[in-house]
Amino acid sequence: MKKELVELKINGRTHELAIEPSALLLDVLRQDLGLTGSKRGCDESSCGACTVLVDGVAMMSCTLLAASCQEQEITTVEGVSQHGSLAAIQKAYGDWGGAQCGFCTPGFIMTVKSLMAENPDPSEAEVRAALSSNLCRCTGYSQMYAAIKSAIAAERNAMVEAK
């Protein structure tokens, strides 16, 4: 198939790439750009391991055409930590047992990031509903709820301190 030139904005950087029009975003991230943090668990939008943010919205990159994301801001797990220091949600997932084998973790972190942006104070029911798009076979999810709670508290404290 003929390749086309596209421009993708990923984690704040613009990449110009020659890709096939049918190329999926997950393949482009992992193969063309070496951003292997986004994982492949199924290929059919059912596990959420490939979740990235597209203009802040959590999307499954395994079924998303890369070419359709031009002009949009793509964030992957590699873009979550800033200058080498962990984002609150990353630290909390580490501390509270949110990650066991870690394979689902990048996807969950992206889903939680979008939840926290949309709803700064989610109830446990809202957290459960938000996470239900992603599958984790290791944790049974409960330690993730604790992690999310603590990340929200940490961000709130940081904001208070900044003021």
Binding site: C42, Q100, F103, S132, Q143
Partner: protein, 754 residues
């Protein structure tokens, strides 16, 4: 040295930072220069012989590397316990996912079309798909009688008890196949060069299983086979034996092409072709006294092993030993049998036979309670094993376990009695029926019987040039926290900081064979060896006069640096040494089956919606005694994760079979619990300690898989008054049973009452 500052605390996971930043490297994240992608052409029929293979001309075959059984340099088998499973079928086909040919190509996307363009003609043979068909023996598909293995466990004389019994209670229980469904599919990368031999990197649990299999398959000496574990995205037993197959395939393609080859399964292939939990059937016939005491019983435990022997004999063994549950049997006869069918081989999955036979025992216990007229609580209390009594294999319970106390605590934290009363009233009206159910159980830690003696595991601890300490083990991390806990143990044993200890990536050229990472053995068995190897480092430093009995972390570091500077290397090894008083008879299956058991009482609360027939688990209490909890966050994580899988086993996860092939091999039609499906899972620990494990730890990983299914089904019976003896229990099964009952217009009467 300070006393236990690290063990028992929630130190950060060793590989945690890599995991939360996406930097952890899993096998599919690896790229080697010139690497090809590999794919597998599989059989399409459950049984038969290959007549002819045709390569359709629509594909440019010259671009592909093609491997068949003829290309195997060594023995065409996946060496494990027996050698019956071929790496590539050359003639006979025994299940519908049997690998026949391997293809490799530089473009991953070109492979799918090529796989489809290979057509295989067969002379089909009749196939069998159920345990019953296999037992009937009308078609012999394995050996001379379709039987992989049998065990007979006998205690006392059970034939004597029937005449003395006030009640004889029978039941038959069954469990279905269950897919491990780790989120990372199986995968391997292999590279070959004539001088160094073969190297594989992969997602796997047992580096030395793969090592052994590759030596036989590639006809290479030990030093020319190197196996490296990559970060592994979940395993649960599902990466115990099948990785040897994939490693073999990648290795054959790499040897033939001279290029590195990566094989990573997609979800559909992983679910259909790799192992699952053995389906099982258990029959109980139990003699009881009027006051509800077990006098004796017969238990028949049968599992479906699929087409090849693989791990079935050991799964069967664990299932048989756990079949009597945590109860005292004055006499018992347990007959266990693993039979062949024409499905892909079933394999290891967390619990390893235990969840199957314990489901039966704990359902049967509730049945016994009803017949005898006691509560589920009381019937268990009266029959619990007590210290000093013997198990079904006549192992004396030396641990000071008080199961009655465990039960009391579980009842109180779950508010069992209050809820029982409330539900009895509430269930009178409305379309939602609530129930509460109990399961009590045990799980043996480590290999069964003489297993640990045969394994004879070795671990190493190294004092490094920079003064740090590094652990050398083949035990793998796949989420449970192996790396973290073993580092805690070494740091504790040496009085160092957790940060001073690291652990080597499992690589067979670097680490000794500390046995497979299975059977809840890592913390108890390997951990104990790490503790003693670590102490060996201190011993060496002390004998060399470089360190005293008490020291600071800095003094240790300096001594270690000085020793390595002077001697080149500082290493200490420890090898498993069986306790002298342990007796196990492999023939009679009698004696000390496990060095230690973990014990538990789980309580599930459910509601059943009579308009949709769906079950929700509303509350779950998991109380266990696992010895010393070395890391509270990881331990809770193990329990909650195991309970979630157990809930899936009971209510969600149904493999639909057709002609030996899984039909619903996608995450959209094989359903595992999501965050919206699970109740709060409340975890409680009792800590008794254990002389066999590092700092008193026992096994923890598998235990939580055993209890949820029976506790839930017991709760469903409590809610509906209808008996269910088979899992997975789907809404349609509940619908059928309720309609059948209302058609009959009566409640079922317990089977045999004398």
């Amino acid at each position: 040295m300070n006393h236990e500052r690290i063990v028992g605390t929630a130190v950060p996971r060793k590989e945690g930072r890599e995991k939360v930043t996406g930097k952890a490297v899993y096998v599919d994240d690896m790229v080697l220069p010139g690497m090809l992608y590999g794919a597998t052409v599989r059989s399409q029929i459950p049984r038969g012989r290959i007549k002819k293979i045709t390569f359709e001309t629509s594909v440019a075959w010259s671009e592909f590397v093609i491997v068949s059984a003829k290309d195997i340099p060594g023995k065409n088998c996946i060496a494990l316990i027996g050698d019956d499973q071929p790496c590539l079928a050359s003639d006979s086909i025994n299940h519908p996912e049997e690998p026949v040919l391997l293809l490799a190509h530089p473009d991953r996307h070109a492979l799918r079309k090529a796989v489809d363009a290979v057509s295989i003609e067969y002379n089909p043979l009749p196939a069998i798909f159920t345990m019953e068909e296999s037992e009937r023996g009308s078609e012999i598909v394995w050996g001379t009688d379709n039987v992989f293995k049998t065990y007979l466990i006998q205690k006392g004389n059970v034939d004597d008890v029937w005449s003395r019994a006030d009640y004889i209670i029978e039941g038959e229980y069954s469990t279905g196949a269950q897919e491990q469904l780790y989120i990372e599919n199986n995968g391997m990368v292999a590279a070959y060069d004539a001088k160094q031999g073969i190297t594989v990197w992969g997602s796997l649990q047992c580096p030395y299983y793969v090592h052994k299999a590759l030596m036989a398959l590639c006809d290479l000496p030990a030093e020319k086979v190197r196996v490296v574990q990559m970060e592994t995205g979940g395993a649960f037993g599902g990466k115990e034996d099948y990785p040897s197959m994939i490693a073999g395939h990648a290795a054959l393609l790499a040897m033939k092409s001279g290029k590195p080859v990566k094989i990573v399964y997609d979800r559909a292939e992983d679910m259909a072709a790799t192992t699952k939990r053995h389906p099982s059937r258990t029959r109980h016939r139990t003699a009881l006294s009027r006051d509800g005491k077990i006098l004796g019983g017969e238990i028949e435990f049968t599992i479906d092993g699929g087409a090849y022997a693989t791990l079935s004999s050991v799964v069967l063994s664990r299932g048989a030993i756990h079949a009597g549950g945590p109860y005292y049997w004055p006499s018992v006869r347990i007959r266990a049998k693993a039979v062949a069918t024409n499905a892909p081989p079933h394999g290891a999955f967390r619990g390893f036979g235990g969840p199957q036979s314990i489901f039966a025992m704990e359902r049967h216990m509730d049945r016994i309670a009803q017949v005898v007229g006691l509560s589920p609580v009381e019937i268990r209390r009266r029959n619990f094993l007590q210290p000093g009594q013997t198990t079904t294999t006549e192992q004396v319970v030396r641990e000071l376990i008080d199961l009655g106390k465990l039960l009391d605590r579980a009842i109180s934290v779950s508010e069992y009695q209050t809820k029982k009363q409330e539900f009895a009233i509430e269930n009178g009206t409305g379309a939602t029926k609530k129930g509460i159910g109990i399961a009590a159980f045990l799980h043996g830690a480590g290999f069964t019987g003489s297993g640990e003696r045969y394994l004879s595991s070795v671990v190493g601890v190294e004092g490094c040039a920079d003064g740090g300490v590094r652990i050398l083990v083949s035990s793998t991390e796949f989420g449970q926290g192996t790396k973290t806990v073993l580092c805690q143990i070494a740091a504790e044993a040496l009085g160092l900081r957790y940060e001073d200890v690291t652990i080597a990536q499992p690589d067979t050229t670097e680490v000794p064979n500390s046995g497979p990472t299975v059977a809840s053995r890592t913390v108890m068995v390997v951990g104990k060896l790490v503790e003693s190897a670590a102490r060996g480092i201190h011993q060496t430093l002390k004998l060399s006069g470089m360190l005293g009995d008490s020291y600071s972390a800095e003094e240790f570091r300096a001594a270690c640096q000085a020793y390595v500077a002077g001697h080149g290397q500082l290493r200490s090894w420890a090898q498993y040494d069986p306790p002298p008083d342990v007796f196990w008879d492999d023939e009679k299956y009698r004696g000390e089956a496990y060095a230690a058991y973990s014990w538990a009482v789980y309580i599930a609360e459910v509601s059943v919606d009579l308009t949709t027939y769906s079950v929700s688990v509303n509350d779950f209490v998991a109380l266990q005694e696992v010895g010393r909890v070395l890391h509270p966050v990881l331990a809770i994580g193990q329990i909650v994760g195991g309970v979630a899988q157990g809930i899936g086993f009971a209510l969600f996860e149904k493999v639909i079979w057709q002609q030996g092939r899984m039909q619903n091999n996608q995450m959209t039609n094989y359903i595992m619990p999501t965050s919206s499906d699970l109740p709060p899972i409340r975890v409680f620990f009792e800590e008794l300690g254990n002389v066999h494990g590092a700092f008193g730890a026992k096994g923890i990983g598998e235990l939580p898989m055993d209890g949820p299914a029976p506790a839930i089904v017991n709760a469903i019976e409590d809610a509906l008054g209808v008996r269910f003896d088979s899992i997975p229990l789907m809404p349609e099964d509940i619908y059928d049973a309720i309609t059948a009952r209302s058609l009959r217009g009566e409640d079922e009467v317990a089977s045999v009452i004398r």
